[in-house]
């Protein structure tokens, strides 16, 4: 008998005969789908507010202003090696002139460790919690590129990519893709249960909310 059989057998004996219960009706989902009523614009404001509350640096611009803003953010940190995912819209970095390190599958972690910054898009952003979700699409790249550099700039197209709540975000996401939910820079509560920013992930998270762009959904 395999351990699988043993465990499933124990479960069967522990529960005894259980009647069929359709799962659709087993849970009262009378909790709120969204907390509060907001216009699309107010939802974007809430996102900005909550991102900032967890020490992300939030910037707002439009499509035309994006290249200049990215130039300023990168040169402000003296970033020379900037990691980019395979399909970052080329116009985003049109003004900046860093040494672009295109992520390739063969890139070793040491190579990634030498990058000063990384610039990506995102799949969806959640206003109520101040969260960005990356799903590994070509404008976001592999999970490791947003983890190893100390500076991450994430571009969010507003209002198209912004949802209000966690339930709305899950509905937009594909569970079969590798997903990373990011709420502020890396932090810890391990010293006296008080929050300190900056442990292993990027210690600086900058979020650029770009308006006037086609609302690329997830």
């Amino acid at each position: 008998m395999t351990s699988r059989d043993i465990i499933l057998g124990r479960i069967g004996r522990a529960l005894g005969p259980v009647p069929d219960e359709p799962y659709d009706t087993a849970v009262d989902r009378d909790y709120a789908r969204v907390h509060g009523e907001r216009t699309a614009e107010q939802t974007v404001d809430l996102l900005a507010e909550n991102l900032a509350d967890y020490r992300a640096l939030v910037h707002r611009t439009d499509q035309a202003g994006l290249p200049d803003l990215l130039l300023r953010l990168l040169s402000g940190r003296g970033a020379r090696h900037v990691l980019v995912p395979p399909a970052l819209p080329p116009e985003w970095l049109a003004a900046a002139d860093p040494v672009r390190v295109h992520d390739r599958a063969a890139a070793g972690v040491d190579e990634l460790d030498r990058a000063d910054s990384v610039v990506t898009g995102c799949a969806v952003a959640v206003a109520e919690t101040g969260t960005l979700v990356l799903d590994g699409s070509p404008d976001q790249g592999r999970r490791r590129i947003t983890l190893i550099p100390d500076h991450h700039i994430c571009v969010v197209r507003v209002p198209g990519q912004v949802v209000s709540s966690v339930p709305e975000a899950l509905e937009r996401l594909d569970p079969l893709r590798p997903l990373t939910w990011i709420s502020g820079p890396s932090a810890t509560s391990d010293i006296e249960l008080d929050r300190v920013e900056g442990v292993h992930g990027p210690r600086t998270l900058e979020v650029v909310l770009v308006s006037g762009s086609p609302g690329a959904g997830a």
Partner: protein, 511 residues
Amino acid sequence: MSGTYLGMPAFPAAARDAVRDPTLRANLRHATHTIREKRAKAVAELDDWARLREAGRQIKDHTLRHLGDHLVRLEEKVTAAGGTVHWAADADEANRIVTDLVRATGEREVVKVKSMATQEIGLNEALEAAGIRAYETDLAELIVQLGEDRPSHILVPAIHRNRGEIRDIFAREMERWGRPAPDGLTDAPAELAEAARLHLREKFLRAKVGVSGANFMVAETGTMVIVESEGNGRMCLTLPETLISVVGIEKVVPTWRDLEVFLQTLPRSSTAERMNPYTSMWTGTTDGDGPAAFHLVLLDNGRTDTLADDVGRQALRCIRCSACLNVCPVYERAGGHAYGSVYPGPIGAILSPQLRGTASEIDASLPYASSLCGACYEVCPVAIDIPEVLVHLRERVVQGGEFTRHGAKTTLRPARGHAAERAAMRAAGLVFARPGLLRAGQRLAARTRRAHPRTLPGPGRAWSATRDLPTVPKEPFRDWWQRTQGHTTGSADASGAASAEGRTDDGKAGA
């Protein structure tokens, strides 16, 4: 569970030392009070908290009622997505599976994401015995590992350490494990976090095998979910070539949508955040992104025994947020080590005796490590009625009876230490069933009241050492009632006693 805890003294003995340690008391008080207020604020932001909590309870209960079906479905989905599923009936088997998997890679070290399940089975010790070094990468776990200490909290295993102690441990121990602590390290939390970042980075970058647990497993999609703060989890989940996750079977949820409940209740309950900094979700393996090999080890280790108990089963709803520890007056004073388990606090007091059985002194004492104040139940995001289970387990310890151990029905004999309690209860039952005897006893007690001792002799001494014995009134209540109501049949004959009995049925008969 881990051998580290074998031979632990019973809770009261272990707690006595902790309560006398002023540094420990101050550290715990500071940390638990900080988080208590923040949690209350984070929870108050959601006006539908009670409904989210109820939905969480329902999801978990439904899952447990159909656990076998969900696990089979999960296995199918994980396998289809490129993962390999293993089943482990107990700790030894899980350790063996993980050790063999690591050996097969040819590696001699692994990086670990903080995981309660691997702590529970003593995986690090098992790997060590096989010549494989496990590096803990969570900041608090690192503090515990470097300090050769034991965890004392579910979420923040080093909660018993203050910043000064952490600085000393880093300065002293880091170089034995790899990159030494920076010169002139102070006790500023940001500097301590930076020291951990530097110390662990080289380990992350060279790691070929990662070991983790998981917060949730979605049966519908085969998706694993890990909720964390520091990014050490992301490092371990994405950089190595092989990932091994050891997860308790109760961590499965039926559908993707169910995450919408727990991703709202877990962060607010544990770190009092709207959302924790990082959550990773992965399904099997993904070409070109993350580990090429993914192994899921499904762990029983006493969970099915717990499932067999109708009352105790609810402990399996736990999502390990640790809110119950942070509000518990007993935990705040006794600290986590006194519970003799990787699961301390109120949830530990109901989980450990169920996962391990109540044969050892520590496990038999844990159901008593509570004042039954109920604060734990109130904050629990999946509404585990911890006091109810505590009382249930006390009954099991005192009275014995039938329960399940290693999948087989067993009859537990009443605990020896509770013989006096049982004798007293039996005597009380006898007397209360015979009104005449009760009346005679009360009168005798009233007349001899001046001769009563202030403390109980023999085994009762422990009880009366911390409590005043109730004073016996001059006159039993029923005598007083009959006298002041002016009844004529005041004699203690059988018919008089019966009529007096009839009258006191409505009111609360004191005495």
